[in-house]
């Protein structure tokens, strides 16, 4: 260990002489070019700011492009509607862990946001009258849950996310945003607790670029890839969360990860619940329809979290199928093929392409799959990143976050369908508006120059990071196998905290894996397009996310929304909301769980420390829209 420290000190002296570092100065830098990043970038350019958009992927390749569902907004085109009812649905969906001021902001802005997208040229589907067609989706109701099903979901055929991303990208080209495509953001430049910019690695030629700016917006997306089975792209590695963690700032509610029970094993696509609705059954290695034991009445049609948990328990108890015994089967071949073809057109094609099975003869291998991360970088409703000290929220100057990377928190403990695309555009725009309010653009200040022997401490750890990976041959393990072993462990340990002790076991195992990160070695020593290096950096980012997720999950001793535990099955709030609150004694903050988890990690040791922050229960304007007091969540 000592020799490693000495080596890295020597390297940091040599770094500025050997590696070219280019300085840039902008009024605002946006990291990430998905739905939220693009909206923030051109919102800033429109306001006159000299903006840079630093992204590791070409903008139209971001994971937003895979969001095929719709976007919710209370436009009222199909029946009378009110955004306050959408507000109620979202607060209830979040299991009262969402911050009601942020949800108020999002649902009130929703109709304007959708109309704005339509004006940008997004081709929503239309009714006969030419208004945007809205359909029922995502747990939406009328009249605060009492008026029946609401139709709020707007879509573009079946490619809403793809269309959104292309519309935003096309629109952003009208403004002079500078795109830095295929630049991997390494770290934030922090000085005295203020964010002064970002340092990034140009993947094309290996040079390091420092982007200095008064305003940095993080929109890097989620971290699905910490799990073996996820629907996310290979690039969803939680880089923004990791950058913020390394800067000593907290991440919020990382234990809330949304799972779907039937994702195709190995491929990560989800199989619709309609399969089970039409009569499909889940079977284990003994050929048993195991859902009968866990949910005797609903059986395979039980709610998603019950099904996910049942599947995980079966796998843990050794009744999984396949060579690794790590998944179960979804059987459809007992249904008449005609019925499958008429009721579920396209399923045979899907099963053949993604699972390689003929659905009329063989079962489909499935296991619970990660789809969305509700947690992320904590922000207020304006998009400013916050920390929580001495019982108060404190804004981190110069740093903003939006999209899946941020946690505003509008989704709380569970995200409703079609709300995440809305989250992207509303908070992307909110970041741009907040920056425009707080600062004036400073025109004509780009300076490009090669760095002299750099003395400034900020940002120097990033390049040292890289040189350690490139140069030290003391270490032995290759990056690639590591990336494959971390996720399956995370998957098994995290998904079900079945019996007491399993969660702790998961934490210990995760600690061991974290320590083994020291042994990473890259085999590619080149400077141009070193994907081995980039994947190693992504692995380090994934580890930071994984470690916080599992510790936060282990500590949270209740079941709320997407966080479900066998050993603590109920929600623990300050009052027991199944009875009238009058006459009940309010539990102190330390004894209930209706609070946000704020997790910090020491990157050297991997030690996680947790603090808690209260949920914001008031809306932005109580006269206009009263807050929703907590209640039992039942549909």
């Amino acid at each position: 260990m000592a020799s490693v420290c000495a080596a890295s000190r020597l390297l940091s002296k040599r770094i500025s002489t050997q590696y070219p570092v280019v300085d840039h100065e902008f009024d605002a830098v946006v990291v990430g070019a998905g739905g939220a990043g693009l909206r923030a970038a051109f919102g800033l350019s429109e306001a006159g700011f000299n903006t840079a958009c630093v992204t590791k992927l070409f903008p139209t390749r971001s994971h937003t492009v895979a969001a095929q569902g719709g976007i919710n907004a209370a436009l009222g085109n199909m029946e009378g509607d009110d955004w306050r009812w959408h507000f109620y649905d979202t607060v209830k969906g979040s299991d009262w862990l969402g911050d009601q001021d942020a949800i108020h902001y999002m649902t009130e802005q929703a109709p304007a946001a959708v109309v704005e997208l339509e004006n940008f040229g997004m081709p929503f589907s239309r009714t006969e009258d030419g208004k945007i067609y809205q359909r029922a989706f995502g747990g939406q109701s009328l009249k605060f849950g009492k008026g029946g099903q609401a139709h709020r979901c707007c879509c573009v055929a079946d490619r809403t996310g793809h269309s959104l991303l292309h519309t935003l990208y096309g629109r952003s080209l009208r403004y002079d945003t500078s795109y830095f495509v295929e630049y991997f953001a390494l770290d934030l430049l922090m000085e005295n607790g203020e964010c002064k910019g970002v340092i990034a690695l140009c993947m094309e030629d290996g040079s390091i670029h420092r982007f200095r700016s008064q305003n940095t917006v993080i929109a890097t997306g989620g971290y699905g890839r910490t799990y073996f089975s996820c629907t996310s792209a290979h690039t969803s590695t939680g880089d923004g969360n990791a950058m913020v963690t390394r800067a000593g700032l907290p991440c919020q509610d990382l234990e809330f990860v949304q799972f779907h029970p039937t994702g195709i094993y190995g491929a990560g696509c989800l199989i619709t619940e309609g399969c089970r609705g039409e009569g499909g059954i889940l079977i284990n290695s003994e050929g048993e329809r195991f859902m009968e034991r866990y949910a005797p009445n609903a059986k395979d049609l039980a709610s998603r979290d019950v099904v996910s948990r049942s599947m995980t328990i079966e796998i843990r108890e050794g009744r999984g199928v396949g060579p690794e015994k790590d998944h179960v089967y979804l059987q459809l071949h007992h249904l008449p093929p005609q019925q499958l073809a008429t009721r579920l057109p396209g399923i045979s094609e899907t099963a053949m392409i993604f699972a390689g099975v003929d659905v009329t003869k063989e079962p489909i291998p499935v296991l619970p799959t990660v789809h969305y991360n509700m947690g992320g970088i904590p922000t207020n409703y304006k998009g400013q990143v916050i920390t929580h000290t001495n019982g108060n929220d404190k804004v981190v100057p110069g740093l903003y976050a939006c999209g899946e990377a941020a946690c505003a928190s509008v989704h709380g403990a569970n995200r409703l369908g079609a709300n995440s695309l809305l989250d992207l555009v509303v908070f992307g725009r909110a970041c741009a508006l907040t920056i425009a309010e707080e600062h004036k653009p400073d025109k004509g200040k780009i300076r490009w120059h090669r760095l002299r022997r750099d003395r400034t401490p900020s940002g120097s750890s990033g390049p040292v990071h890289i040189t350690c990976l490139l140069h030290c041959s003391l270490w032995c393990l290759c990056c690639l196998p590591r990336r494959e072993t971390v996720p399956p462990d995370a998957q098994c340990r995290r998904r079900v905290c079945g019996q007491p002790g399993q969660a702790e076991e998961g934490c210990d195992k995760m600690d061991d894996i974290y320590q083994s990160l020291d042994d990473i070695k890259t085999f590619d020593r080149g400077i141009v397009w070193n994907t081995d290096l980039v994947e190693s950096l992504e692995l380090q980012n994934l580890m930071l996310n994984a470690v916080q997720t599992i510790y936060s999950a282990e500590q949270r001793k209740e079941s709320r929304g997407a966080h479900a535990r066998e050993d603590f099955k109920d929600r623990v709030d300050e009052y027991d909301f199944s009875k009238p609150t009058q006459g009940q004694e309010k539990k102190p903050f330390e004894q209930h769980w209706r609070k946000h988890t704020m997790s910090y990690v020491d990157p050297k040791t991997g030690k996680v420390s947790l603090e808690y922050r209260p949920v914001i229960d008031h809306s932005l304007d109580e006269q206009d829209c009263a807050h929703i007091p907590p209640a039992i969540r039942s549909y």
Binding site: A66, A67, Q68, G69, G70, P123, F124, S125, R126, T127, E128, Y133, R135, A136, F137, G138, C153, C155, V156, A157, D158, H260, T262, C269, L270, I271, T272, E273, G274, C275, G277, R304, R343, L344, P345, G346, I347, S348, E349, T350, A351, H371, G417, A418
Partner: protein, 93 residues
């Protein structure tokens, strides 16, 4: 190169040795195999369109006859099972 072209008509063998490809009388390079364009993505646009996927066909005029939605998703209603379904895959829930 110019020397080869000058002598191409006289000696095909020589041009084969020097440049590795056959040349016609005019000296232009002749491919031994037919063009591979037909197999490339660009080439596929030149051949007549294959039979469209019968699973999810476009509605006439792109208007759903039941819901009268114009420009909407093809095939049965994607939200009929409570999640957003397309070709058996769930994309949102």
């Amino acid at each position: 190169m110019s020397l080869v072209r000058f002598r191409a008509s006289a000696s095909r063998l020589q041009s084969l040795v020097f440049t590795g490809c056959s040349r016609g009388v005019s000296g232009a390079v002749k491919d031994k195999e037919p063009l591979k364009k037909a197999k490339t993505p660009q080439g596929r646009f030149d051949i007549p369109e294959e039979k469209t996927n019968p699973v999810l066909e476009k509605f006439p005029d792109d208007v759903n006859p039941v819901t009268k939605e114009k420009g909407g998703p093809r095939g049965p209603e994607p939200t009929r099972y409570g999640d957003w379904e397309r070709k058996g895959r769930c994309v949102d829930f």
